[in-house]
């Protein structure tokens, strides 16, 4: 007969659970701390400008007038542009690696695409300044005149600007979207594809069935990439031109929320200026927090469904195997 655990031992275990749990709690505390501190340190600006801060376009530190609309515009514009470029490519990679690639190519190709995520942002920026921007400038110089009348392509050929920022962001975001999308596709049960094939589907139609099954997770993967693009700082600030003026043109120099913080934080000579920059940081924090939380929930929801399915499938296949 087993003895019940001694009181000392169960007390030890409780202490262990509480102790390690405390350290785990620090992670949660950190997020709360960031929210609280950013709010505290941007109160001057929040009180003075209120919601007006996000509706006006004047950014004049000398006069003490701060409106953050150009930065929101630039952040959304560059991130959406990056998303438009990166999503088809990232999904193509995910489909190729999970459904089509020969086995021997799978691991090296996955490693290479994920290497894109490991390259530091500052290296992307350096490469952007000296390699990408000159290329973009050439594209802009050679844009035909009739096309330059379209609002999307107006302005002088600077090289630096929205197009360069969108391109570099797209490259940086691809590995995040593609690796999560690949995980999602990997988690889609093989029966989905087999059923499609059994009904006479072509390869692409079977892939569509898998994509449809994992669509929430795929949406999560795309959102994760969007969150990355919104918060990206160094590479963008080095190629976007840092001009706080709303412009619809891809060729125009513009600005983003993260870039203005990086550029002007150490120059902020008044408390109000500093508070205005921190308020931009606070909003950046809230936006990325919400986007990340949503994307994680979407990704997790797929994984959980799949896990349940895998369990029932294992139970179903266990019997014939045992008989054999």
């Amino acid at each position: 007969m087993r003895k019940p655990p001694s009181p000392r031992r169960s007390a030890d275990d409780r202490l262990f659970r509480l102790g390690t749990g405390f350290f785990a709690f620090l992670v949660v505390l950190l997020v709360g701390g960031i929210a609280f501190e950013l709010y505290e340190n941007s109160r001057l600006s929040i009180q003075k400008f209120g919601f007006h801060f996000w509706q006006t376009t004047t950014w004049d530190p000398v006069a003490g007038n701060f409106g953050a609309l150009p930065f929101i515009w630039g952040t959304l514009y560059s991130s959406l542009l990056a998303l438009v470029i990166s999503t088809p490519i990232a999904l193509g990679i995910a489909i190729f690696l999970s459904e089509l690639s020969p086995r021997f190519l799978r691991t090296p190709l996955a490693f290479l695409t994920e290497l894109l995520a490991a390259i530091p942002s500052i290296v992307y920026g350096l490469w952007g300044i000296f390699v990408l921007v000159p290329i973009v400038r050439q594209i802009e110089v050679h844009t035909p005149d009739w096309l330059k009348k379209v609002p999307l392509f107006t302005g002088p050929p600077l090289g630096v600007g929205m197009l360069a920022a969108g391109l570099i962001l797209a490259v940086m975001v691809i590995p995040f979207t593609s690796s999560v999308a690949r995980e999602v596709l990997k988690a889609v049960p093989a029966t989905q594809r087999e059923a499609a094939y059994a009904l006479g589907a072509t390869r692409w139609e079977a892939i569509q069935a898998a994509l449809r099954y994992g669509r929430t997770g795929i949406a999560g993967a795309i959102m994760l990439g969007f969150g990355r693009a919104i918060g990206e700082t160094m590479a963008v600030t080095m190629v976007i031109g840092n001009n706080p003026r709303i412009n619809s043109s891809l060729f125009a120099a513009q600005h983003t929320m993260a870039a203005v913080i990086a550029n002007e934080f150490t120059e902020a000579d008044t408390d109000l200026y500093l508070n205005a920059l921190i308020e931009i940081g606070l909003v950046l924090f809230v936006i990325t927090l919400v986007i990340n939380a949503l994307s994680r929930l979407l990704i997790w929801s797929v994984n959980r469904e799949v896990k349940v399915e895998a369990v029932t499938k294992a139970a179903a296949t266990a019997l014939p195997e045992a008989a054999a």
């Binding site: 030890d12 749990g21 992670v27 950013l38 190729f96 490991a118 500052i122 350096l126 940081g281």
Partner: protein, 282 residues
Amino acid sequence: MNQAARRKLLSGFVVGLCALAVVAALIPLALILFYVVEQGFSSLNWDFFTKMPKPVGETGGGMANAILGTLMLMAIASVLAIPVGLIAGVYLSEYGRTAFATLVRFTADVLNGIPSIVIGIFAYGLAVLPVHRFSALAGGLALGFMMLPIVARTTEELLNLVPASLREGSLALGATRAQAAFGVMVPAALPGIMTGILLAIARIAGETAPLLFTSFNNRFFTTRLDQPIASLTVQVFTYAISPYEDWHRQAWAGALVLVAVVFVFSVLARVVTRRLERMHRT
């Protein structure tokens, strides 16, 4: 053309597009690596590692102070983040099914996606604003906050690779949960955890944004924690946006060092994780 042929053609077309997408992503990777190696390699020399920066206008010199600065910042970040992250990871692996563990896991993943510049503002408010001075400590703090979720999640994942029978065996022999976790499970997963942590350090070493207004920059040699300190990344940034040819050269050399460090650790981490997975697969 009949419908079946059209469907087959479309299918082949899309398959081709997917292959093209892989190529489309590999082209920028190849271009970046090519330029970094080409430009960086010709600029990298012994002086880069041993000499101090020269004043504006003089050519030559190196980034000795920035390299030391980055190493110090990494040390501070590691001291702060590794113990906390490791123990948090142990909790997540031991009590992973509780609602609280799910919350922590979720928060850690979300924290991972918070822009590094925001973490920089947070560290600024904690360690720079109260004393009105940029410092190595503030920079290390910012990097430590970024490392924490990665270390916690890596530890958890690698502990989950260790077979549960090890824990059960030690509990059956009368060990407490703490003894089973820290005496049996963590040592079994240690090679993997250490590689994961090294990879996290290598990645964090490439961060620039959170250092801009925490550790700032310093043209001189310093080891003091309460003073601004140079770092490889901020130095590369300063040189990259400068108008001087020789500084651009050094920026490329710095970029090569950063990429090389990340690349070596990525390969190493992949090899070790694979070996561990093979070892524990029965």
